[in-house]
């Protein structure tokens, strides 16, 4: 047998051992130094990052209040997201069945699909329903308890947005998406203020995403969002929306409408109604039934596209996102420019021959009254809404001054209103402005502005010449009630002098009282108004086979002696073929303006001051006769010059009156009557159907009312030729005999339509 070791073997073995140990472990030690010491922090950070899981804790979105600070327009409430964690139940067949059937019953989901989902072993987070409310959460918890389910179904806190007033102010409020982020309106514009900051729960998780047994947890509390208090008053907003809807129906308006009411001193928007609108609680439903039906009637492949277009249309805030030719309404600005610049005075004279022929323009630019207005003062010219008069002012001003004032009135800039999607206006720059452009811009054609720009300019005419900053949010308040930010109510610049402003208010008040803007007259208030009927020239030029479409608008402010509120009402494309041929600003927008002002001004605390003439026509307050005998009531009413009638048993004058229409304290026309109801009257006998007063003059309207045992109260234009345009109670509805129907009258003559110029 060979000898154990030789020197050779020893040397080789030791060399190999040294190589292995020193080489191998040396290299490994070098690696350890590299990874642990040199790059240790980096590796640690990476390892931490992959094992720390951040869970977002939702923050409560701020509430939106109206101007009263008490009415909640938008609010968040707790809801829950139901999450399935299939990995924890996938192995248990019986449990899968239980979970699938239980959840399908509670949530109304497909059981087979749920069952399938519970089998996904690798899935730890599967949202099956979002935004379930308290009752559903309770049922799920009950179900988990009953079946002793500890894992597999999770409920995650979330919030849902509610809009208690439904469609009211929807185009201002906007709505939020599934992740509680604002998608439209104020919800979008003030998203960062409303949303607050989501909290974070940072915890260590194993690679499966479940909690690790060692404690590392850090909570950053969620910070609730701020509340918004608007300048929008829910009551005014509702009034605007109500009359806008009536106007759209009455005048068959095809392309939507806007009514904006502004506090002329602060720029706060008191109401901004646009139509179409939507219900922010369900923004993806098409609210307008006609549109919805039209889409249904489309071929299948076009429906989706049409639906998207309709949704975007109803979400759009027409008041800030659409531009239009202001038309003759703009004359209040051009008149102000002329007075302010001193090129005209109230009594300056100009002779209108019915049209103006400009050099280089083929057609004569006509006045709406083609025979001409003859020689008139500026005051008369504005009340006539005489186009040549204002072309005359434009030419006296010259392009430079005209453009300077136009810019000063804010026609070339966005107003900066705190709503998303404000459009830029479209106009001719001074250097590209031809005489014809100046001429037509002088009466409001061929340049486009947004309704909000127009009402802001109107406010400047009204308030002493100051251009305000329109805004809808009055203040931002944090969750503890501290004011974070208040709206900037300072004015941007003074456009015209106080004197010019006062003069314009006076001239415009005359316009409403006896001029072309009588449609906006409100008894008891001095309204300064200006009508506008703008032609959609570009649209007509694009497709001349279709008839010219118009925008009927009315813009004004009240009270004339101390202007407080400006209102612009604007109807886009009244369908004159189907509404009896009305499309002018005075006829269409005027009565709506009047009705809104008549209802909103008293609410806003503007005192009623009747002129003597108005006082004579004034309605009176109904005395209370309930509880009296018929005989006593008769005597009492006679004292007040009122007549009476009895419903029920009226033969015995000792019968007690149990009810009276009109009710005590409400308005009743002078020499009107009160219907007395006695015990056990027949309700069918007491109710009458409200007739349609539309288009009737005062005499006929009163006669029709009397036939139906109803009474009318007259609002709006008081002239002989005025016709009823609006009634405050819908035709066909049933009311008790004696009910007073308020009718708003307007002149049905269409003024100031602007004849198209071909170039």
């Amino acid at each position: 047998m060979a000898k154990g070791t030789t020197e050779k073997i020893r040397r080789k073995a030791i060399a190999l051992t040294a190589a292995l140990v020193i080489g191998g472990f040396g290299a490994a030690a070098g690696s350890l130094f590299h990874w642990q010491i040199l790059r240790g922090d980096e590796m640690r950070a990476e390892a931490m990052e992959q094992s720390l899981v951040t869970t977002s804790l939702p923050s409560m979105r701020g509430t939106i209040y109206d101007a009263t600070g008490t009415k909640v327009l938008a609010q968040s409430a707790s809801v829950w997201t139901v999450v399935l964690e299939p990995a924890y139940i996938a192995e248990d067949e019986a449990l899968r069945r239980t979970v699938a059937s239980g959840l399908s019953q509670i949530l109304g989901l497909d059981e087979a699909e749920l069952y399938e989902m519970t089998g996904e072993k690798g899935s730890y987070y599967n949202i099956i329903q979002r935004k379930v409310e308290t009752d559903v959460r309770d049922r799920i918890n009950q179900f988990k308890k009953e079946h002793d389910i500890t894992s597999g179904i999770r409920l995650i806190d979330d919030y849902k947005r509610y809009y208690p007033y439904g469609t009211v102010a929807s185009n201002i409020l906007g709505f939020t998406g599934s992740e509680n982020t604002g998608l439209e309106g104020l919800e979008l514009y003030y998203d960062s203020e409303l949303s607050g900051s989501a909290g974070r729960l940072i915890s260590a998780k194993n690679a499966l995403g479940t909690d690790m047994p060692f404690e590392y947890e850090q909570i950053v509390e969620a910070e609730d969002g701020h509340d918004l208090v608007l300048t929008i008053d829910e009551t005014v907003q509702s009034i605007l929306e109500k009359y806008l809807a009536i106007g759209i129906e009455k005048f068959q308006v095809k392309n939507g409408a806007v009514a904006v009411m502004m506090d002329v001193k602060t720029g706060g928007i008191v109401g901004l109604a646009t139509n179409p609108n939507y219900d922010p609680n369900d923004p993806f439903a098409i609210l307008d039934e006609k549109t919805a039906k039209a889409i249904e009637a489309l071929p299948q492949d076009q429906q989706a596209e049409a639906e998207v277009a309709a949704l975007q249309n109803q979400w759009r805030n027409k008041g800030v996102s659409d531009t239009y030719y202001p038309g003759s309404v703009y004359k209040m600005c051009v008149g102000s420019m002329g007075i302010e610049e001193g090129v005209i005075t109230e009594t300056s004279q100009f002779t209108c021959t019915g049209g103006v022929k400009l050099d280089g323009v083929k057609d004569t630019i006509n006045c709406w009254q083609t025979v001409g207005h003859g020689t008139t003062t500026f005051r008369e010219g504005l009340c006539n809404s005489c186009n040549p008069w204002f072309m005359h002012i434009g030419s006296l001003l010259g392009g430079e001054a005209f453009c300077r004032y136009r810019e000063a009135f804010g026609m070339t800039d966005k107003t900066g209103i705190d709503l998303p999607g404000e459009s830029y206006s479209i106009y001719h720059n001074f250097d590209e402005m031809r005489p014809v452009d100046l001429a037509v811009e002088s009466f409001g054609q061929n340049f486009s502005i947004t309704p909000i720009q127009m009402v802001t300019a109107c406010a400047a005419v009204a308030n002493g010449g100051y251009l305000v900053r329109p805004h809808v949010v009055d203040r931002i308040v944090d969750s503890d009630g501290n004011i974070v930010k208040t709206a900037d109510t300072s004015y941007r610049r003074q456009v015209i002098s106080e004197e010019t402003s006062q003069l314009m208010a006076d001239i415009m008040q005359q316009n409403t009282y006896s001029g072309t803007a009588k449609g906006g007259y409100v008894s008891g208030y001095r309204i300064s108004g200006k009508t506008g009927t703008s032609e959609k020239v570009a649209q007509h030029a694009a497709d001349p086979t279709k008839p010219m479409e118009y925008i009927a608008s009315y813009c004004g402010f009240a009270p004339a002696e101390d202007p407080q509120y400006a209102l612009l009402v604007f109807f886009d494309e009244p369908d004159r073929e189907n509404n009896g041929g009305v499309y002018g600003g005075n006829a269409v927008a005027g009565p709506i303006f009047s009705a809104i002002m008549q209802e909103a001004l008293p609410y806003l605390g503007i005192e009623v001051k009747y002129s003597e003439e108005e006082y004579g026509q004034l309605d009176m307050v109904t005395p209370s006769v309930v509880g009296m005998t018929i005989g006593e009531a008769q005597a009492k009413l006679q004292e007040d010059g009122l007549f009476f009638d009895v419903v029920g048993d009226g033969d015995d004058w000792d019968n007690k009156v149990i009810e009276q229409i009109p009710e005590s304290g409400s308005q009743v026309p002078k020499e009107g009557f009160v219907i007395l109801y006695t015990q056990g009257y027949d309700i069918d006998n007491a109710l009458v159907e409200v007739p349609d007063f539309f288009g009737l003059d005062k005499v006929n309207a009163s006669y029709l009312a009397a036939v139906s045992k109803l009474q009318v109260s007259i609002n709006g234009v008081q002239d002989e030729g005025a016709l009823a345009m609006l009634q405050n109670i819908e035709p066909g509805s049933k009311v008790k005999k004696g009910t007073v129907i308020t009718l708003t009258f307007a002149n049905n003559e269409t003024t100031e339509a602007f004849a198209n110029i071909a170039e």
Binding site: K3, G4, A13, L20, V21, G30, M43, Q50
Partner: protein
């Protein structure tokens, strides 16, 4: 046992160690014999426990095993909890095998290693049969219950409750057969006929069979072990140059063209490992092996100099796949830091040094080669494993001796340590 004790006795032999000789002479001269004798008696009592067993080696083994078990418990805790529903799943199995293994080690340490002369051929045959069984059940019959596949590799054999890697048996068989052959051809190792041809034949057969399992690391370790033993045994160095060149060509050929499994994915697999080695955080970091490397480096890096503390690893929470197996050292680095890792590497180095020391003092060539083979097997595995875990070399599936989970492997390891201890009983190592 008594027979073994007689033949492997070293007690009556005069001390061969020159240092010892000098010391004795000095003792005789100075007359401090009483104190010296007492010290030697104590040393003798401690170091010759179990009749000449080498105490330092035994201690290194036991210390490594103890640390290994603690670390296995720590590293396997999370996986046990999440996948086996019992945090003690791995440690109870491993602990039981360790106890059984220690008993086996002590028993085998009394079993005269010379008997392996006769057992060499039977062991080799059994080993080859087992390797063929893997190929038969895994590759041909594809019976997963007997020969389960892991990715492209098929290296396990499940015989009843006993699961093990026949390549482990093959390594042992190779060591025994080579020790046998080298001691037999001791004088003719310089020739081609005796020193090269039979060895290459045996080595080629084992390596080829393991290679066919698609077991890359096993193949490399077998080739390395064979080459080391031949080199130490006396084969002329020029043959290694030739063999090395040949292997390099084969390896490159394999990496480029071959190594594919039935679905043709093998080649990509090995290249992926190299790509992952070069850039552990790169594009390939999604693939299983590179993911493991990436997570391993996160673990190692998190440990820093002093570690996050025993039991405090985060990476073991299912981030590092199978932390109880090949990558257990990463958890060691994370929990015990660079200092702890170096201590463990030092312990391995001491074990290797003592194993080599004992082997070189064996009284015959068979013992020398057998001991060196067993020592180098452990040493190679430890070094390669640690180098893989630290991304010093590309990822190959090598477990860490004494640490990695695997009862049968631990049992075999401790058995082999028993043989090494038996060699120590009869080697010319100072026992006092």
């Amino acid at each position: 046992m008594p027979a073994a004790g007689r033949t492997a006795r070293g007690l009556e032999r005069p001390p061969q160690n020159p240092a010892r000789k000098r010391e004795e002479e000095r003792t005789a001269q100075t007359g401090q014999s009483r104190k010296g004798r007492r010290r030697r008696r104590i040393q003798h009592a401690v170091f010759s426990l179990g009749n000449g067993l080498d105490m330092p080696l035994f201690v290194f083994i036991m210390v490594l095993l103890a640390i290994g078990l603690v670390m296995l418990f720590s590293a396997s805790y999370a996986n046990s909890y999440y996948y086996e529903d019992n945090s003690y799943h791995y440690i109870t199995r491993q602990g039981a095998f360790a106890l059984f293994g220690i008993a086996a080690m002590l028993l085998i340490s009394t079993f005269d290693y010379h008997r392996f002369h006769q057992l060499a051929m039977p062991i080799a045959v059994i080993s080859i049969v087992l390797l063929l069984m893997v190929l038969l059940f895994g590759r041909v019959l594809k019976i997963k219950s007997i020969a389960p596949a892991e990715g492209v590799a098929t290296r396990w054999l499940q015989l009843g409750p006993l699961g093990f890697q026949p390549s482990e048996v093959a390594k042992f068989a190779l060591i025994v057969v080579f020790a046998h052959m080298i001691s037999l051809y001791a004088d003719k190792m310089g020739t081609f006929r005796y020193g090269v041809l039979p060895f290459v034949g045996v080595l080629g057969l084992f390596a080829a069979l393991v290679f066919l399992e698609n077991h890359m690391s096993g193949t490399l370790i077998i080739l390395a072990l064979g080459a080391i033993l031949m080199f130490v045994g006396g084969t002329k160095p020029r043959w290694f140059v030739l063999g090395g060149a040949l292997l390099a060509v084969l390896l490159v050929g394999y990496l480029v063209f071959g190594g594919k499994d039935d679905s043709g994915e093998g080649g990509v697999y090995q290249m992926d490992r190299i790509a992952g080695w070069l850039d552990p955080f790169g594009d390939k970091s999604g693939s299983a092996d590179t993911w493991q490397i990436k997570q391993s480096l996160y673990a190692i890096g998190s440990g820093g100099l002093l570690g996050v503390g025993l039991g405090q690893s985060r990476q073991k929470y299912l981030y590092l796949p199978k932390p109880q197996n090949d990558f257990i050292f990463a958890i060691v680095c994370e929990e015990l830091g660079m200092v702890g890792a170096l201590v463990i590497m030092l312990l391995f180095a001491l074990l290797i040094w003592r194993g080599v020391y004992i082997s070189l003092h064996a009284k015959d060539r068979f013992g020398v080669i057998l001991g060196l083979g067993l020592t180098f097997q452990v040493g190679l595995q430890a070094v390669l494993n640690i180098c893989v875990v630290t991304n010093t070399i590309p990822n190959t599936g090598i477990s860490l001796p004494f640490f990695s989970s695997g009862g049968t492997a631990l049992l075999m390891l401790l058995g082999q340590m028993g043989i090494l201890l038996n060699i120590s009983r009869s080697s010319n190592v100072e026992k006092t």
